[in-house]
Symmetry: C2
Subunit: 246 residues, 2 copies
DNA sequence: GCTTAAAAGCGTAGGTCATACGCATAGGTG
DNA sequence: CACCTATGCGTATGACCTACGCTTTTAAGC
């Protein structure tokens, strides 16, 4: 059994599979400690405030000590992205696929709303962290009763994840901007568009603006039921499942 | 006519509506010059290489000169995000909504593929730049023949934009990771998952892994037709339009 | 044409950041 | 007990954004 060959560094990092040192001084920290401290900083002051110095200070260590456990700050961000979402709870048994995915989306959004900085972490590869995989697994499980092939399930879930992350990113960025500059949003947005949108240059958009869609508050939906695009996507999944069953 | 009241700073910046100075030295630069130089840097060396110093150097000016034209680097990023995508070309006449949106998505992806750094710029508010609005307008126009309300059209287009941006971001990040570390992807990903995914802990995912879906290359679709999630979303839109017509 | 003030240019410098390097130190291993 | 290895940590470097203040240029008003 040659099991220890060639696992990408990212994987061994996220799964805590570093070979344990048998010689030398004992480590005073663990990767999990560092990750937890970094998450605390991000929770308190945002992702921008996460610096190696600040994380180390919170742990009572010197800045450079962290580099004994993490190759770079990017490594730390990867660890944070996995740790912050936690393991996915099991879905209730016996749900139809659509109910199951809706519950799943609601939970994803709840997690991302609690830690808005997660969606700001740049992604550099396919998901490999244990928590990420557990969320992936739950969504796949929700499609268990359908007649979809494994490949189709993967496509459905990846698309859903993409959509939800994009939606969360947009809506969280908007709410951040709103918090920083409240009077510029809401009615102001519609007014600004009305001032700037030339009916000749932007005919379709102009019709929308004059119809008053933008005059109210910025929609800013955190409710799943209000997520118009999600409904459309799930309708598309329903059509696919219908075709698969026919 | 009180036209000059209360436009958000962001809007006047993006539309070049600053009041022209009547006193003092003449500016040797324009906001457009600065934006163009910054875009050139990003094209050549990536978004991370865009610094005020480097942009100023390319323009033959001192670093601090730029702050006479932009309030902060964030302002410059906003300008870049709008300038980089260019104005949206008009869609061919007489297309069905689905054909029109598909062409539109293909063009969006072509633009984002040409300038991958655009999707890395953090968003801080709803779109107000002229080029962003023109893209928005074209997509709305593609839905002209349908019976959807203006509000529904906005929802459909915003969802589509969210999805396409998310998909582009993911796929571009993956291809970046692939370029930096080719041997870790492709078959390696499937192998790593197989090593790490416990059937008891991740039952649904385990089924997918053993079915061999991940054993090939990472899909990495740039083709619209290969974008599984997009098809699902447009199917959902079709269902909505069908309901609206009935 | 002369004065004046507003605005642009630019150098300096402060603060923060990631991280490379070298040396001291502690704790298994032989 | 001696050695070797891996960690702890201070220093240092280079890059970054941007606040500040002085100088220079230009147009407006008399």
């Amino acid at each position: 059994m040659t099991e220890e060959i060639d696992l990408p560094a990212e994987v061994t990092l996220l799964w805590g599979l570093r070979e344990t040192a048998r010689r030398g001084r004992k480590p005073s920290l663990t990767v999990a400690d560092i990750t937890r401290a970094a998450v605390e900083v991000a929770d308190a002051e945002g992702l921008g405030a996460v610096s190696m110095a600040k994380v180390a200070e919170r742990l009572g260590n010197a800045t450079m000590a962290l580099y004994r456990y993490v190759k770079s700050k990017n490594d730390l961000l990867l660890l944070m992205a996995d740790a912050a979402i936690g393991p996915a709870p099991a879905l209730p048994e016996g749900l139809e696929w659509r109910e199951g995915l809706t519950v799943w989306v609601r939970r994803v959004l709840a997690v991302l709303r609690a830690r808005p900085w997660v969606v700001q972490i740049p992604i550099s590869g396919p998901p490999v962290g244990p928590n990420n995989l557990s969320w992936f697994d739950r969504a796949l499980g929700a499609l268990g009763g359908t007649g979809l092939s494994e490949e189709e399930k993967v496509g459905v879930v990846m698309g859903l994840l993409t959509y939800v992350q994009g939606e969360a990113r947009l809506s969280l960025d908007l709410s951040t901007g709103y918090r920083e500059n409240p009077e510029a949003f809401g009615r102001q947005y519609g007014l600004a568009l009305a001032r700037v949108v030339d009916p000749l240059r932007f005919p379709a958009l102009s019709r929308v603006v004059t119809s008053g869609v933008f005059d109210g508050e910025v929609p800013y939906d955190d409710e799943v039921d209000g997520m118009f695009g999600l409904t459309l996507y799930l309708d598309g999944v329903a059509a696919l499942i219908g075709r698969a069953e026919a």
